[in-house]
């Protein structure tokens, strides 16, 4: 295998090539100048949009940012956004065989619907307006095959985006029609009788009109047999759930750009069987299932008002719906409980960006250099927030509406040639609880050309959502709490970004988080009912280090280690589902240059505490993907093996599960073929 040889060659050749040249050693531009055209075609630009709401290089972003590109997705065989995000340093996921949940820096409490992460698609907010849930699993609105890049911005983003951006902002950038230039057909088959097809079409017409369209369908029978020892009883089929884990979805995604206007439409509907007997439903009953649908229309206008001022205006409509069917034992018969939610909202935002001021002169001590001012206003009308539930009779029926307006401003200014200040604040006003103001302050210092140091402070909030405020089952187990206040987080972080060579980058971060008024489901001692309350506090501190490289020969590698200690603010106890150590290694080697890539991913997750006070054990997970490109004209193929060594591991369960920890899949396979026309 040529792979290791190429690897060794890249490591050795890169520094030597630059050391041999005397002129302007170390300068970025002179390094590029020495490259061949083919090498240049492979250099990554490394820009990020969502960290400041305009395009900037990673070193200038006021955060520790990770970018996952389409190239990574292809080479490592990522199937969903959950796969992509669990490859990100400091991130981990939990799967309860219905939804994937995202953990960041030690936070992923069971039962929270990932409400502390903001998910955007091309800048459009995706968290729904009842559960605040960002869809990252098979219910995700964007097929992995149409993702151009995923920007992962750690830390608080409420100063730009408002609610939910406590632990991070994730912006999924989709592919452009121009880049497809025709049609693309993808077909795949995977373990557990899983099949997926995707048809994508993209084209540029004239030079200012572009169209992109993609549709996918997925159908998975799921494991024929899942065993849960908690149900190992003759009355519950000896703990065996047969064919209860099916999963299917269909989605549509379209983008039409015409001049300064971009119209995007997206829709997904997913139906999933629940095999775990969650919510004390009848075990091994395939009628227990959920359907989640999500859609939106987004019209964006980008206009340059002058050379120094541009405007982005956005008008959108969103839909989110959920239907759950739950089978319960009812004497000799079965009682079907149906629960649903339906939410719709529209909103508009205006964002202005101005650049002004003169550059810093070479000498002298001017007060301030050039500014970049970003400011905007936003309005959102959640005109439908309905919850409905019935068994023999209706027990839950609420209609609500809420409105939000917000204004934000951020200034980026160069104080010295190598020192920039980014300061921003946003105020959100909710018709439900009132206002929340969240600042963010960053100093970005570049003492040497290859070194960037960032000192970051930020506050973020999460508004109580409609589920937490209004869900009740008519006095049976849970009641609503319309008086909830927002929860907040204060964060401090230091980031070091060091370029070690043109191809190798080191990032290290240290962070301290303090969260308060955390909205938590607790028992009300007065009536014994569960209710969401603002009681809890939590704190976390940790360290992260990442070494990442991409070499012109096609080799890509990233190794990272994260240490996080997240604990309850009062008791000092470690949070549930919070691994102290995460380690990841991703290596992708060109076996045949530009043609065939072998990629190995290793992920270590340390022991996690569970709700019952026990733990889910530490585990190593390995995934391997062989990806061939242009094997025949316009034909790509890839074979992925997930959980290569068939390790048994479990993710902590939630309150609704009898399983304290839920067994995950063993070794699975996926074969994918893509044909471009």
């Amino acid at each position: 295998m040529a792979g290791p040889l190429i690897f060794a060659f890249c490591l050795l050749a890169a520094p030597q090539a630059t050391a041999a040249e005397p002129a302007k050693k170390g300068s970025l531009a002179s390094e590029f100048a020495r490259m061949s055209l083919d090498q240049l075609m492979n250099v990554e630009v490394d820009t990020v949009y969502a960290a400041s709401r305009h395009k900037q290089k990673l070193a200038d972003a006021p955060a520790y940012v990770t970018i996952v590109t389409a190239e990574d997705i292809r080479r490592f065989g990522y199937r969903t956004l959950a796969d992509i995000l669990r490859s990100v340093p400091g991130f981990y996921t939990t799967y309860d065989r219905n939804y994937h949940h995202l953990g960041i820096r030690g936070f992923n409490r069971p039962g929270d619907y990932d409400t502390r992460v903001l998910l955007l698609v091309d800048g459009h907010r995706l968290n729904d307006n009842i559960y605040d849930c960002p869809p990252i699993g098979t219910q995700g609105i964007v097929d992995a095959g149409i993702i151009e890049r995923v920007e992962v911005i750690r830390g608080p983003g409420s100063a730009l985006y408002g609610s939910n951006a406590l632990l991070g902002v994730i912006n999924v950038v989709t592919r452009r029609g121009r880049a497809i230039g025709g049609a693309e057909l993808a077909a795949e088959a995977a373990s557990f009788g899983s099949y997926r097809g995707r048809l994508t079409f993209g084209q540029a017409f004239a030079d200012n009109c572009e169209i992109f369209f993609s549709a996918s369908a997925y159908d998975s029978a799921g494991p024929r047999r899942l065993y849960y020892k908690e149900y190992d009883d003759p009355a519950t089929n000896r703990g065996i759930a047969r064919s209860c884990d099916d999963d299917r979805y269909g989605n549509l995604f379209a983008t039409l750009s015409f001049g300064e206007f971009t119209l995007q439409a997206a829709y997904v509907s997913r139906e999933k069987g629940i095999p775990t007997g969650a919510f004390d439903t009848r075990f091994n009953d395939p009628r227990t299932r959920t359907v989640d649908a999500r859609g939106y229309l987004d019209l964006k206008w980008q206009h340059d008002l002058s050379d120094h001022t541009n405007l982005m205006a956005r008008l959108y409509y969103d839909y989110s719906g959920y239907r759950g069917s739950y089978a319960y034992d009812d004497g000799p018969g079965v009682l079907m409980t149906k629960e649903s939610s339906r939410d719709q909202w529209w909103g508009a935002e205006l964002v202005f960006t101005h650049t002004f001021g003169s550059p810093l002169p070479a000498t002298g001590a001017p007060p301030l250099g050039p500014h970049r001012l970003t400011w905007g206003v936003e309005y959102r009308d959640n005109f439908q927030q309905d919850l409905h539930g019935r068994h023999t009779e209706v027990y839950l029926h609420t209609h609500n509406r809420s409105r939000i307006w917000a204004a934000f401003i951020q200034d980026e200014v160069r104080i010295l040639h190598n020192l920039a200040l980014v300061a921003g604040v946003r105020h959100d006003h909710y018709s439900t609880f009132g206002g929340s103001t969240n600042p963010r302050l960053s100093l970005i210092w570049q003492p040497f050309e290859a070194t960037t140091l960032k000192a970051l402070y930020g506050r973020a909030f999460r508004a109580p959502n409609a589920y937490e405020m209004y869900y009740n089952d008519d006095g049976a187990t849970q009641k609503g709490n319309p008086d909830l206040k927002p929860e907040t987080i204060d964060t401090a972080e230091l980031v070091l970004e060091q370029r070690l060579s043109e191809h190798l980058r080191l990032t290290a971060a240290a962070f301290a988080y303090r969260m308060k008024d955390i909205i938590t489901l607790e028992e009300d001692p007065s009536d014994g009912l569960m209710v969401f309350q603002n009681g809890r506090r939590a704190r976390a501190k940790g360290l992260e280090a990442e070494l990442a490289g991409a070499w012109p020969c096609g080799l890509r590698a990233r190794a990272s280690y994260s240490l996080a200690r997240a604990e309850d603010g009062e008791t000092g106890q470690r949070l549930v589902n919070s691994p102290t150590h995460l380690a990841k290694l991703n290596v992708s080697v060109p076996v045949v240059r530009d043609k065939l890539f072998a990629s190995l991913e290793l992920q270590y997750t340390s022991r996690r505490d569970t709700l019952a006070g026990r733990h889910a054990g530490a585990f190593w997970l390995a995934n391997f993907t062989l990806h061939g490109r242009d094997l025949l004209k316009g034909l790509d193929a890839s074979l992925g093996v997930y959980n290569l060594f068939d390790r048994r591991y479990r993710d902590p369960g939630s309150r609704e599960h009898r399983q304290d920890a839920i067994e995950q899949d063993g070794r699975t396979f996926r074969l994918q073929i893509i044909k471009r026309f």
């Binding site: 002179s30 050379d307 650049t355 050039p370």
Partner: protein, 184 residues
């Protein structure tokens, strides 16, 4: 009238020298683009005697606000030391332009770009831009970002009209922009 106003506006732009523009752009991105500009020269044949540089130097011009900062000069210095002499010229307005082999036309407004490109085409230079849609408006080569990498599109018809011959190797690496309907 309109042309006069345009020229006036350009002159104004040149006087102000737009420092902010340089600070806005990613240095890394423009360092990559600067290196590309140099390489384009290897794959383009100019009309005999069209643009002339002093002692056979390759002349790269920047028209309008310069987004490259120092990166273009560094590329020129590096390549000049290694093999071919490269000279960089900056022009505030099209009026005072000297002949060059490669002309990078920078503009933040697409409408003005079309006018600029039409007038610059007469100079016989290879016209390079990095504005969406510029290749359809007469730029011979236009940069764009895809998959986190710098890519370029080529309008072969426009290049042919300017008497430039672009090698097939460069065309293979590029996305080809066909002339809009009606254009030959």
């Amino acid at each position: 009238m309109a042309a006069g106003r345009m020229a006036g506006r350009l002159a104004l732009l040149a006087a102000a020298a737009i420092p902010a523009a340089a600070a806005d752009h990613s240095e890394r991105e423009y360092a990559i683009k600067a290196a590309f500009l140099y390489h384009f020269a290897e794959y383009v044949t100019w009309l005999p005697g069209a643009p002339k540089g002093a002692d056979g130097a390759l002349t790269i011009g920047v028209l309008g606000p310069d987004p490259f900062g120092a990166t273009l000069d560094e590329v020129a210095a590096t390549r000049s030391a290694a093999d071919r002499k490269v000279a960089v010229r900056r022009f505030g307005a099209i009026e005072g332009m000297e002949p060059c082999h490669i002309l990078f036309v920078s503009a933040s407004e697409v409408e003005r770009l079309g006018t600029l490109l039409r007038r610059a085409a007469e100079s016989g230079a290879l016209l390079v831009a990095d504005v969406r849609g510029a290749a359809g408006q007469g730029a011979h080569i236009n940069f764009f970002i895809e998959n986190n990498k710098v890519r370029f599109e080529i309008n072969p018809a426009a290049a042919r009209r300017a008497g430039l011959k672009i090698s097939s190797k460069l065309l293979r690496l590029a996305r080809i922009v066909e002339p809009p309907s009606g254009g030959q």
